[in-house]
Amino acid sequence: MLNRITDSLNFNTEALRLRSERQRLIASNIANADTPGYVARDFDFASALSQATGRQSQAQGLAAPRLAMAASSPAHLTRNGRPAGGTLEPELNYATAAQTNLDQNTVDMDRERANFADNTVRYEASLRFINSQLRTLNTAITGQ
């Protein structure tokens, strides 16, 4: 019963985690804007999120009973293909340079700044979703 309540929070928790990871990546790119030979990195948020949450669990919805498989090692995979021990790291890609640079640096500051602002707003959105879900749960629990 209790995990059904927290299950509804899982999706936004994963989204928040991936957003913070992406924030760190973009901050690294901005920090290395003047480093010769640095290659900018990023990951595809949509595919990382669907990988992290697992499409099957979304399709089954919250009504289906969810029994976790026993895992004796953190490397064992659970039913949705994630390691039992930890969260799956998103697959990092390399950004190509919009304009070539003599020092082989592929950080495009305009793109990074735009991505950073976008990611900030979406992180805040995820936070608000979690907050409103918590408020909903609170209202249901107190029953007023």
């Binding site: 928040l16 985690r17 913070s20 990871e21 924030q23 760190r24 990546l25 901050a27 690294s28 901005i30 920090a31 290395n32 804007a33 003047d34 480093t35 010769p36 030979g37 640095y38 990195r41 790291e89 990092l92 500051m109 700044r113 950073f116 900030t120 992180y123 805040e124 936070l127 979690i130 907050n131 918590l134 408020r135 609170n138």
Partner: protein, 136 residues
């Protein structure tokens, strides 16, 4: 929590950029320095940035690994009345190119500002994260 790392990353970048700014200031201050009696004029300096892993995938900061000196010969001007003129009446200025240094300075200051803004944004996000579930 991967976002705490951002302060390390942007902090390293800010300190690297301020070191770059320091070198630019030193170069500009010595733009008109004349070679002393030993004939050695001031040599322009440049910092070398290198990416540095900061724990966790994709967390990359910056570090200044070395400061290199520019070895091109300094500007020579004929001025026999100058007290530091050599036997042929020439004085040697430092090899600092003021225009290059000004451009370098603007670039360093913009990068510095960018990283400070990243830190400010991250701080406000973390503050909001800390207040998660409190606003009822």
């Amino acid at each position: 929590m991967s976002m705490f790392n951002i302060f390390n990353i942007s902090g390293s970048a800010v300190s690297a950029q301020s070191q770059r700014l320091n070198v630019v200031a030193s170069n500009l201050a010595n733009a008109d320095t004349v070679a002393g009696p030993d004939g050695q004029s001031y040599k322009a300096r440049q910092v070398v940035f290198t990416a540095q892993a900061m724990g966790g995938t994709g967390a990359t900061g910056v570090a200044v690994t070395q400061v290199v000196e520019d070895n091109t010969p300094g500007r020579r001007v004929y001025d026999p009345k100058h007290p530091q003129a050599d036997g042929e009446g020439y004085i040697t200025y430092s090899n600092v190119n003021s225009v290059e240094e000004m451009v370098n300075m603007i670039s360093a200051s913009r990068s510095y500002q960018n990283n400070v803004e990243v830190m400010n944004t991250t701080k406000s996000l973390l503050m909001k994260t800390l207040q998660m579930g409190q606003g009822n």
